[in-house]
Point group: C2
Chain length 314, copies 2
């Protein structure tokens, strides 16, 4: 297919997902145009997903679209930002042209679910990878950062962790359809794959944490690794009570705290702050302490389980 | 090098280019934070550059940094936007770690020249490519689009064209240092390579064209191909007088009108509008007509020179 015909087909596949509140001009020009409310700041992030590294070569385009969009928007959730728009750059081989239309349908479906518009993109010829640039808004001064954790703050995580990591062992075969994955509940046979392919960015929780959380991050590299990022940015240490970590059904603790891809929110807040989060599924798992390391306690005693987290370059 | 150490080294190489007017928070968190003035709209674009397609495998990182940043910001110039910030995602092989620090230095130098801050990015392991997401601001309703050309408008192009395309034949050997290229003038031996590696986004001209140009685009796919994009978006045709096209020294007309990468601005405006652009190097080259095709005239008669422009997928 000719490049411009393929772009037209991709934009058609995006449908209504290419428009939205605040979007003045969508795909098709040198740039997209959007409005940012006067009392808000712009929050921006970018992520790349490489075939064979961040998704399997045999994964359907629709599944990959859901995964890359959800994972990217999770960075906005971690900042407490309301999603505004996304740009998607795809580098692909010639034989991926049908696949990229499925990708667009997955992107569009995930974007509608997140309330983010896909307003532009780029196609290039080369080894398959997908880069998603996401942008959101937050009232001036309210965006959450990694750097505000204070000694004595409690450490919380949303939802459960370990399922997406457990799914890595199942990526060799064709996944169930999106409609099946979307209905999966904890304990279902395909729950792990649902967590891997359909990340649920915690947008509502992130917004609720404005003014409450002292620091926040999403669990993408692994619970321990991401807590390490918060500690480094905040110049503090942390103590995690492993018994309190909310595990996904069937997850193994040692793997769960090291595995990434859950896209839950990990945040710190003063003692008692959880009372302000009624209706959200959050669990207190530890405390911010002086120092610079993350201690994992079992029965109140330090353990030495290895939990380095996902290291992109090893 | 460890991923996080490499990121630290890259951020150090960016230096002051990671900050700027309107930047509240730069690299290091889940997202960057910026302010958009209340009377402005946000303009956003994304581009990917693949090794062996958009730059040679042997090109120094510093040169590639200049090229990808300048070419990306050119989309903001074509929209009449003032640059605000950029996010840069790099996918690279392990043996490119020293190279990527040179890339960061080139990006930083080009970013300072453009007045754009590099506020975030992503590193992934895989075949080398670079994706740049750029964002700028323009007073509400003033951004230039491709879609406003009207029959009778005149067609203009800035600067000269054909040099970057002529450089393609010279990409096999190591280029002169950036400092040498930066001093190249039309007619110098390395002028073509300077145009290829150091695109000069026409930011000032784009801003000056607000309220004057009826449509605008940057010359990235080739003069004829990009004019075709304007015609398609505006539902008009165009007539170009080939004798009036401002060629770079030594450029061959047939190649020049088909070659991309010059990153000049191509725009339409009502007759006489060029009087409002005193001090800018712009040349009237044709007229917007009814229809849907781009006619190339020589001595007032149609020619049939092939000028399809750069087609990313052929």
């Amino acid at each position: 297919m000719d490049e411009f015909a393929l772009i037209d087909a991709i934009v058609a596949a995006l449908g209504g997902a290419a428009a939205g509140d605040g979007i003045v001009l969508g795909p098709g020009d040198d740039g997209a145009i959007a409005t940012v409310p006067a009392d808000c700041e712009l929050v921006s992030s970018i992520d790349t997903f490489v075939v064979g590294v961040h998704f399997p070569a045999g994964a359907p385009g629709e599944h990959v679209g859901h995964r890359v969009l959800g994972a990217s928007v999770s960075d906005l959730a971690a900042m407490g930002a309301t999603p505004l728009h996304a740009l998607v750059a795809v580098t692909l081989e010639r034989d991926r042209e049908r696949w990229v239309l499925d990708l667009a349908r997955g992107l569009a479906s995930a974007a509608r679910a997140c309330g983010i518009a896909i307003v532009g993109g780029n196609l290039a010829r080369g080894p398959l990878d997908i880069t998603v640039s996401v942008h959101g808004i937050a009232p001036r001064g309210s965006a959450l950062r990694r750097s505000g954790a204070r000694v004595g703050d409690r450490i919380f995580v949303s939802g459960n962790i370990g399922a997406a990591g457990a799914a890595l062992a199942e990526l060799g075969s064709a996944p169930p359809p999106i409609a099946t994955l979307a209905k999966a509940r904890p304990g279902d046979a395909c729950y792990d794959l649902a967590r891997y392919y359909l990340p649920q960015p915690q947008i509502r929780l992130g917004i609720a944490l404005r003014g409450i959380a002292s620091a926040a991050i999403d669990v993408s590299d692994g619970l321990v690794a991401d807590l390490g990022h918060v500690c480094r940015a905040s110049r503090v240490g942390a103590r995690i009570d492993l018994e309190r970590v909310p595990l996904a059904p069937g997850a193994v603790l040692e793997q769960a705290v090291a595995a990434g891809d859950d896209y839950e929110l990990l945040f710190t807040a003063p003692h008692g702050a959880e009372r302000l989060l009624a209706g959200f599924d959050v669990t207190e798992i530890g405390e911010v302490v002086a120092g610079s390391s993350v201690a994992l306690l079992r029965g109140g005693r330090p353990t030495d389980i290895a939990a380095a987290g996902f290291r992109h370059f090893d």
